[in-house]
Subunit: 546 residues, 2 copies
């Protein structure tokens, strides 16, 4: 595939000119009757089990039309289709770069009954995804049948995933999100931080004799992960257990971790799937399959696949991820808001915002375009958030009354996940939860005057509501893909490479300098790091570490 | 106490004029040799077991001097002393407001061997704090002695804290932070969200027969907390257990929850301690005392008390919380950065940033001054963060390479908490963790040129490092008070009321409208909410909820 799209500066398109004019007087949500029922009804889009309500954004039909034109003029859906079809989208033209395809969508292109508009470009990756799924299925069946068990024939009860970044945040967020789907006989845990206290705290509660460890690193060389693997393996040895009978790996084919001598099983991930987009690959599959069952994992994939197919809709109002991307660009580039709050009204999504923070900020926190030229417009926002209603009792004060405007994305579900609830004073907890969600989105929009200036709410805080029936594996998969695809669309429109992460390299290089100081200092009392690295050594001394 | 300080606009002080001029050319951290050893050594302050390193901020001595003058000209330390001495700092002059003292510092003014410069103003509150501590000590002793046990004489093994906002985030963050101090025979859990899935998930794993429930609400009327109390109590009844033999309360004297008929014990909190400042009162004390022991809780209080006393130092360079507050104001008001990242290099602090997010944003996310006039300058930043090294593999890409500058506060410890570690390739995990922390702060400051524009790091991202020997109860208490006092100082200097939260009221009012819709709709099939609330009812319909 030779299709590239590195040419368009979104801010010089005719659509951007129109949007710039419209942004001079954005829709006044605080005006009388600004949230009329017909507006609320009209500003709603549906796909893959979700409704997106956006009447509470500072949008009008002309703005939406211009945003649709911006998508057309930047070839947003064409780029998405090219990505799914195997184009080399991870590249910077004219400079050394990763030069990779971007095929995370292939990891859920595994259903014969759903259309495959992007074969043949994705066919090879989809076949590899299916092959890994089959290996996972067989592995899980061996565990269930007891043909794979510990040295004493006992079934494995726990799995510890050792990974960091994309090998941690997505799988962890999904595992927590499906609390009520956990198998009663199994538990899943995560160790990520190189902080030794992390592994100690997790291992403390476990019977290692019935514990599997899944080590996840595409390169097989991630410092934190290899260090934690050694630390955990040492504990197994101390307990008289053979790590090779307990350890699994998920890694690139041919990496140092793709080694049957060291691992009970090795599953593969591919260089065309970036870490932050890898939750639906084996990176999430092994842990989710172990803890929740193979069929639950397949349901997640099906939901994601449905949202991927929705992302190919040419009309922005029918394409939920594209619509969300465009609203985000309106708030970021035309209304000038630097951050984005993710506010799920579900405690089960307690770590979902942390996953989205990585997904969005690592993808779109960039300063050069796909030709390596500095971009003259803001790119990815700062993404943060916590579940409601908790956040209401924490940081919403600032969202309501500060002069700093924070666009907010509410996420909700009509029914609770466990289905256990109680009516207190006429309503259930779930109804109270939803009442709060709707109240917040309306309050942020309309505001409220008051004679007491300390009780004035200025309003015109934009937000949207994404809602589905229930947080099931299927809707969770769709929700995950909604955000993956939203982020990809924004990168395509901003004309940046959302799929590399050069900004993490300098810290890695400098960290090696500091570990060298620690090492030399420990072995040689006369060592003076100031000879080679005066700044670093002075930092060590000022911090009381040398 | 009649002392008020509502007169000073910080931006019209002579110091602000100087700072405005200096901000035109802030220190260039990316210039050659910008981080010289003498600068690093000089820009360090110490108190209560912590070193604050700030050479990697965009500061010079003239800036620091002017910031010190700003503190003087806004009477920052005097205001802090007045607060500790019982002045009515929670007020808006000329408008109805809470009109309360602000005496959370009294909750740790309980040590005879530490100075009490603010008696007599704080004496009454300190006496009340001591009395509650004595009641807590007696309660915990009864549990240990077995004189207080369940209906079958079995000891209580678990405590579920039911509370939200300040009754949840602080106590939860502190509990998690002291993982290696937990009593082996006890566990502490938290239920906060009105989402029914929250309580279900927590209760699932518990033996209710040996579980205490601590319901925390100052007013005794918090919707989420009362709803969850009922939901949890119902579970006890279903299990054949009498809630009055298992439930405790922490509440205001005379509140509906201050009721010996309903609770095994009721502990008191006072209206002069705001929720987000209440972790060292009984709001944190009961859970921490149960799970970690009375002496551990006292160690937390002692650390906090030491940092409170440090906050009275008149010289800004010797007063850590004030220095941090001033650096924050430099970054927010003079360099124009809207957010603040909290980056603890300790997995044990995994929920500490969420607590600080509430503490800071609810306190200082305000738009009027203490006379009710709109402020013409930015106030509290958006606070967010996750532990390193995890964040390095997530959102640091944006911090390093985006054009959006994010001031960052690193927190670290020279030794791990558990003390279990392993050397891999010459360094321990703790050394790798610290190497990464130092590498990040240097990399953010200095940046790096590169021929490949995608690998350019512009540098000049300001950050600071706060470091102590180890995360113990004592240092945790000091760390907590450091941030409480930093936030209070910023509010004093910004001339805003950091101690109310009017911005949460409108959402509460509208939520009642929505619960009324749910209730009426369930009981009357012909109900039409559009008659009274067309916007709200249209939102319900668009969301598929009516």
């Amino acid at each position: 595939m030779a299709t590239h799209f590195a040419a368009t500066n979104p801010m010089t398109t005719p659509a951007a000119a129109t949007l710039g004019q419209l942004a001079a007087a954005p829709y006044d949500l605080a005006a009388p009757n600004a949230l009329a029922p017909d507006r609320i009804q009209a500003m709603r889009s549906r796909a893959a089990g979700f409704d997106l309500l956006y009447a509470t954004e500072r949008l009008t039909d002309p703005v939406l039309d211009a945003l649709g034109e911006l998508a057309t003029q930047t070839h947003a859906v064409d780029q998405f289709a090219a990505m799914m079809g195997g184009a080399v989208m991870n590249r910077i033209e004219g400079h050394p770069s990763e030069e990779r395809q971007v095929l995370h969508t292939a990891s859920r292109n595994v259903f014969d009954d759903l259309p495959c508009p992007h074969d043949p470009g994705q066919a090879d990756a989809a076949a590899k995804a299916k092959a890994q799924l089959d290996r996972l299925k067989a592995f899980l069946a061996d565990l269930d049948a007891g043909t794979l068990a510990n040295a004493h024939g006992k079934p494995f009860t726990d799995l510890v995933q050792v990974g960091i970044g994309g090998s941690d945040l997505g799988p962890r967020a999904l595992t927590i999100a499906l609390r009520n789907y956990w198998r009663p006989d199994r538990r899943v845990h995560f160790v990520s931080n190189v902080d030794p206290d992390d592994a100690v705290a997790v291992l403390d509660d476990l019977d290692l004799a019935t514990t599997l460890v899944n080590v996840v690193s595409k390169s097989g060389t991630t410092l934190e992960t290899l260090t934690n693997e050694r630390l955990v393996a040492e504990r197994f040895v101390q307990a008289g257990l053979d790590p090779t009978r307990h350890f699994l790996s998920v890694t690139g084919e041919g990496s140092p971790m793709d080694n049957p001598d060291r691992y009970l099983r090795s599953f593969h991930m591919y260089d065309y799937i970036g870490g932050r987009f890898s939750a639906t690959s084996m990176v999430g599959g092994v842990a989710l399959g172990f803890g929740l069952g193979y069929d639950v994992f397949l349901d997640i994939l099906r939901g994601a696949r449905e949202m991927d197919l929705n992302a190919l809709e040419p009309n922005a109002r029918d394409n939920l991820p594209l619509l969300a991307a465009l609203i985000g660009i309106w708030n970021r580039n035309f209304l000038g808001h630097a951050t984005l709050a993710i506010l799920p009204y579900s405690q089960m999504l307690s770590r979902f915002a942390a996953h989205l923070q990585q997904l969005d900020m690592e993808s779109n926190g960039k300063r050069v375009n796909r030709r390596g030229e500095p971009v003259a417009y803001p790119t990815g926002p700062i993404v943060w958030g916590e579940p409601g209603t908790n956040g209401q009792h924490a940081f919403y004060q600032l969202i309501h009354q500060s002069e700093t405007i924070i666009p907010s994305e509410f996420i909700g579900f009509r029914r609770s996940q466990a289905g256990l609830d109680l009516a207190v004073e006429g309503t259930t907890s779930q109804q109270k939860l939803l009442a709060n969600l709707l109240a917040q989105t309306v309050a942020l929009a309309t505001g409220k005057p008051d004679d007491n200036p300390n009780k004035v709410f200025p309003g015109n805080r934009p937000s949207s509501v994404l809602i589905a029936d229930q947080l099931t594996p299927h809707t969770l998969g769709a929700l995950l893909a909604y955000y993956e695809n939203k982020v990809a669309f924004q990168g395509f429109i901003w004309n940046i490479n959302s799929f590399d992460q050069e900004g993490v390299q300098l810290g890695k290089v400098l960290a090696k300098q500091f570990t060298a100081h620690f090492e030399a200092n420990a072995s040689d009392a006369s060592y003076d790091g100031a000879d080679t690295d005066p700044t670093g050594w002075a930092m060590m001394k000022a911090a009381g570490l040398a």
